[in-house]
């Protein structure tokens, strides 16, 4: 049986957390499948990363190429297609991140591999691989299996598998010649842009009051703003509020926005999609106000109020003397 591959993800000089989360889960799966765990690292001048990854894998397959300095789905796909064809891994784990979403579906299709995306559970049982993924805003889970194949591909939700210092494997680093030849044809990386720069830094606040789709329209925002003031906190928002232009991008809490860890986080009219939860779940005390008792936000909240925010928020503001 071929190896378990974990594709290392790195950006601007850092290995991204999802890589270690996948290595932790990969160790467990590789043991169940009785096969080695290999971290696959594509980059330029990344020997330091290779050493870091080698701690938790049986081997690191390192492809060094200046064309791999920044993530590029086209270049990554060529290199990985080559590696997978050569080494026939049993399973390839890729992060369900902005990189993985851009890469895994086309790579799997090119190689005719079964792919399950955004998985939050993975088990190898009686010779079969099963994945659990969420649907409908986290309200429904699906158990899926794969059509029999030599290699399976899975994208793994970020932060779904907490990395608690995995077993130290101290694997060897194997340098693989880059299969890239010539220029990357269709797609060129130009630069990074910081999109959420503004006057208010919500990551520094002790109290964050965040508002979501439940606020219904921009005119209702002052209601929640008053609550934020009464609590001595800042006003933030979930994606729909930012998309609608009701709050500026630097106020967005979530995977694609800011990650906050205030002492108190109050979620008002926020359903609690995983992308939002990723940006606030480490907060000290979490309060959720939402009229939908099934809203996933109540899974991470410490205190919940299941009622109409338009009644609760003014009452709470008044109680605080605001």
């Amino acid at each position: 049986m071929g190896e378990v591959f974990v594709l290392a993800e790195h950006r601007r000089g850092e290995v991204r957390d999802v890589t270690f989360e996948m290595l932790g889960k990969g160790q467990e799966l590789a043991a169940a499948m009785n096969t080695p765990l290999a971290a696959v690292l594509l980059g330029h001048n990344v020997d330091g990363f290779a050493a870091e990854l080698a701690k938790y894998a049986n081997q690191v397959l390192l492809v060094e190429d200046e064309r791999l300095e920044h993530f590029n789905a086209e270049a990554y796909q060529q290199v990985l297609a080559h590696l997978i064809t050569e080494r026939k891994p049993s399973l390839v784990l890729i992060g369900h991140s902005a990189y993985g979403m851009d890469l895994a579906p086309s790579l799997a299709t090119q190689l005719d591999l079964p792919l399950a995306t955004d998985c939050v559970g993975l088990e190898f049982e009686d010779g079969n691989l099963f994945a659990v993924r969420e649907m409908y805003g986290g309200k429904v889970s699906a158990r899926v299996t794969f059509r029999p194949a030599d290699t399976y591909m899975v994208t793994v939700r970020q932060a779904a598998f907490p990395f608690e210092e995995g077993e130290l494997l101290n694997g060897e680093i194997i340098t693989v010649d880059s299969p890239l030849t010539g220029e990357i044809k269709y797609r060129r990386f130009l630069e990074y842009v910081e999109a959420a720069v503004g006057e208010v830094d919500i990551t520094q606040a002790d109290v964050v009051v965040a508002v979501g789709r439940g606020i219904k329209e921009a005119d209702n925002l002052p209601l929640v703003e008053k609550l934020a003031e009464a609590l001595g906190g800042v006003l933030a928002g979930s994606r729909p509020v930012i998309d609608a232009g009701w709050l500026p991008p630097e106020r967005q809490v979530g995977q694609s926005g800011k990650t906050v860890k205030p002492k108190l986080y109050v979620a008002v009219g926020i359903s609690g999609a995983s992308q939002h939860v990723a940006g606030m779940k480490a907060s000290g005390t979490i309060v959720a106000i939402n009229k939908d008792p099934d809203a996933p936000i109540f899974k991470v909240a410490h205190y919940g109020i299941v009622d109409d925010l338009f009644k609760v928020v003014p009452a709470l503001t008044e109680q605080l003397g605001g």
Binding site: R11, A73, E74, H96, A98, Y99, D102, P105, S106, A108, T109, P114, L115, D118, F130, E134, M135, Y136, V140, S141, A142, V144, T145, F146, R147, A149, R187, F189, L190, E191, Y192, V193, E194, A195, A196, V207, L231, R239, P240, G245, S256, G257, T259, K263, L264, S271, T285, D292, D294, K299, H302, Y303, G304, I305, K311, V312, A315, L316, Q319, L320
Partner: protein, 262 residues
């Protein structure tokens, strides 16, 4: 610029209670309100903006039942030129791969410069069809696109990464982009547009029209299979405060004071 946009007609489940069907292979759809998938609504808007700037056409395409015409008509009312619905009982049970196969078969002989999809459907949440489709069409792609610009017959796009960071790419046409929400401000259809759209024909194509084999679609054409759906276990349960808004507010303030957070 000729643009094909793939859209999906999905149930709005943000505030709805969801029940699972007895066969555990789908949710109960009765009583749910369906609309265009949120990211697809931004994709159609982006296509219309590009058409307004550079001319050309917008074709909107869906894989779905006859009820999906509601979403297609709304796209026509906003300014799409042509709508095609791919419908066949044998498409049912298609995973993201098989769905992309159906779309690819319909698109491959069209003239296009750009294919747009939403970055993710709010029902399956797989974020898979768009990038799969690009590979099947043999064109370059970019996922999670949050701005587009045309430059010398190429496109310059921003992709949304994590933590408020974007990456800027230059990409050759024809290409496929999966569009992230917030890229633009989707318009509402005008009454005039809605009236005009009522008169337009929606083309309907089935398995035979597409020339696909039966085992290329549905469960047979899929690479993953659904074992079952279930309602996830609640891992940590919030303490739910009960009473009138005044009562719960008073209780909450007491709790927060005791915890020292206010």
């Amino acid at each position: 610029m000729d643009i094909v946009v793939c859209v999906k007609h999905v149930p709005d489940t943000t505030e709805a209670e969801i029940g699972i069907r007895d066969d555990e292979k789908g949710i109960k759809k009765e009583g749910l309100v369906f609309d265009i998938n949120e990211a697809d609504n931004y994709a159609i808007e982006e296509a219309l903006l590009l058409k307004e700037e550079f001319g050309g056409s917008v074709t909107v395409l869906t894989v779905g039942p006859p009820e999906a015409d509601e979403t297609l008509r709304m796209c026509l009312a906003k300014g799409a030129d042509r709508a095609v619905r791919l419908t066949d009982e044998r498409f049912e049970g298609s995973d993201g791969y098989a769905t992309a196969r159906i779309l690819a078969e319909a698109i491959k002989d069209m003239d296009y410069d750009l294919v747009l999809t939403g970055c993710m459907a709010d029902d399956d949440e797989a974020a898979q069809v768009g990038v799969t489709l690009a590979e099947m069409l043999g064109i370059p792609h970019a996922a999670l696109v949050i701005s587009t610009e045309v430059e010398d017959g190429k496109m310059k796009v921003h992709r949304e990464l994590e933590g408020g960071l974007h990456e800027v790419l230059e990409i050759e046409l024809p290409a496929l982009f999966t569009i992230q929400t917030g890229i633009n401000e989707p318009r509402y259809a005008s009454i005039f547009g809605i009236r005009k759209a009522m008169k337009k024909q929606i083309e309907v194509l089935d398995l035979e029209d597409l020339g696909l084999a039966e085992d290329a679609v549905g469960e047979m054409g899929s690479k993953t299979s659904l074992v079952k759906l279930f309602i996830p276990e609640v891992t940590t349960q919030a303490t739910i405060l009960e009473g009138s808004p005044e009562e719960v507010s008073s209780e909450l303030v007491t709790i927060l004071k005791n915890e020292g957070v206010v």
